[in-house]
Amino acid sequence: MLQKKVCMLGSFAVGKTSLVRRFVETIFSEQYHTSIGVKVDKKEVRAEGRDVTLVLWDIHGEDAFQKVQISYLRGMSGYLLVADGTRQQTLEDALALANHVAEMMEKIPAVLVLNKCDLAAQWEIEPDREARLAADGWSVFRSSAKTGESVEQAFSQLTLAMLRK
């Protein structure tokens, strides 16, 4: 049986929690976020013919990423970087966070999820920005907590990356 610790990172109110709510098993209430800054959920995926258990550390987003949260990242095999597609700044914050992680740890598989794609009118991310990110090596997914679009694919992609590492 294979298990992986996966973190979900992203700024405050980018919809990390609502994004995965429908796709993960959970036993803890969302109050954990505000009390200790993290909530642990679980997701089973199948990749390359294997069942993999992803233990998801949904880390409470703060604009200024604090030391408290960094320690939660220890031991992770990969992470989901989540940004709000309707707020450009959250993408910049997310990427800054990714850089920060890259400085602290050896290279770790990650996928970038641009959330709230159902709000197309307010979308702030330029298509060529997405292309550049893809060129930098990011697997970029547009998703919607409302429709559930691409969530499964994002997890599968991350799992594959972790298995192939």
Binding site: Q3, K4, I36, D41, K42, W57, V68
Partner: protein, 594 residues
Amino acid sequence: MPEEAQRRAPIPPTPESQPEDKQALEELRHLIVAPEQEGLHEIRERLDSKERRAEDISSVVAEAIQMRREQDGDHALAEALAPTIQETLRESVRKDPQVLADALFPVMGPAIRKSISESLRSMLESFNEALEHSLSLRGIQWRIEAFRTSKPFAEVVLMHSLLYRVEQVFLIHRETGLVLSHVVAPSIATQDPDMVAGMLSAIQQFARDSFNSAGQETLGSMNFEALEIWVEASPDAVLAAVIRGHAPLDYKLAMKEALENIQQNFSSALANFSGETGPFRAAGDRLHQLLEARFKEKLGGKGRPRAAIIAGAVALAIVVGWVGYSSYLLWEWSRFLNALRLQPGIIVISGRKSGGRFRVQGFRDPLAPDPEKLLSEAGFDPKKAYLELMPFYSVDDVIVLRRAKELLRPPAGVRLSQKNGELRAEGVAAPKWIAQFQERAPWIAGVNSIDVSHLQNSDHVEFNRLKGVLESAVLVFPLGRTELEPGQEAALAQYENDFQGLLVQAGHLGGTITVEIIGHTDSTGVEAANLPLSRQRADQIFKVLRRAGVKPTNLRPRGVAASEPLRTEDTEAGCRYNRSVTFKVAFSPAPPVH
């Protein structure tokens, strides 16, 4: 490789072309095998030279060790190196202990501190527990139990505190927080262990971060109502036990040992963990050993009814015993009172129980038995009974007799008795005591009259005895003679003493005696001749007595011839008795002296 073999096989020489051919062959061989030979030579040289060999190995030794360590499942490398490293350390210490001391210094402090704080915490925990239990209702029950079973209180507390159940045990990879192994006690509902373990790790890190702890400390335990989560950490793994109730501190030790064991057995799997939990399946057995349980309900369920029955039986026994004992006491008391009433010299007016004590009121003669002694003999504690007995003079015959004996002190030959107020003395006493008795006895309380009719004067008794001896004496004479028969002198000498004693007794009786010395003859011969013969015989004895010092005024000799025969003269023996002298004693009171 047959072709190559053919190619390399030497061409067989022919006898006629031998010298040139041989040279050509040598050249050919040189061309073909020289490089290989050189290579072989170099290899041999390398193998033969120690220096070269060391040089070769030195370039790969670090990588080789690392590689072996990574593959190592059975610790062969560690086992191989251990003796050398131990020896090295020993040698290093022997040469200069300071070097190793300096190297260890940074880890010694924290290790010692941790050990001390752990010990203090354990001590405080048990102390707190004891304090907590000593004041609660349950604590009081336990105190009673301790008293009943005569065990130390602390032991009873410990016994009850030991009741616990380990419901789940998690083995968690320390860095990732992923579950390596998880065991659950039967029929325990659990949440998803992966998420629980993750959250547990998160909480651990949260605690570390919150209190700015940079090190590897772990949260030792968490409490949640009746649940406790005990956590032990090793460098790569965390062991968490979910316990319902209070586990003993020994359990902490068991966890430590299990974790050390796991850390040792799975060290490489732990260090290289990449999410694959298969290798840790074997650790499950070790975790199962940590699932312990002691049920409070079972102990209590069995213990309580038995305790209740015992307690009930004891209470019943106490009540029955108390009632029985009280009745027994009352019965004994009334028996004692009856006995007391029968005691001469004691009069009981009232005997009752008041204020938990027995109380007797009445009168007691000083010569009556000691009532406290009677109490003791009846089995009562004299200190728990009041005896209010006023002194008085009893006229009970027994007490009067006792009083008379006390006051009169009768001599050995006298027996006193008391009946209906009359005191009677019997026996022989000196005239002085008889006089005292007659004078004093009527004054004794309770003596109404005295009876001395059976009391004899001891002087009279002796006088009469001596008188009897003398009056029965017969001194015999031969026929017609006035000298005693031979052998009679000795008898006479004895009578002389009796004379003297009789005179003394007569003096005691306040008078004097006159002893008639009577001479006798038998009836043979004539009266005229017999009369003087009898008189001469009496005079003969008179003379002897006078010589012995008897005053003549007390003696009166006379002859009666055959007129007062002692015996009939049918026989010679009777005649012989009649040829004799006898005595007759008369007492006469002394004339009053004026």
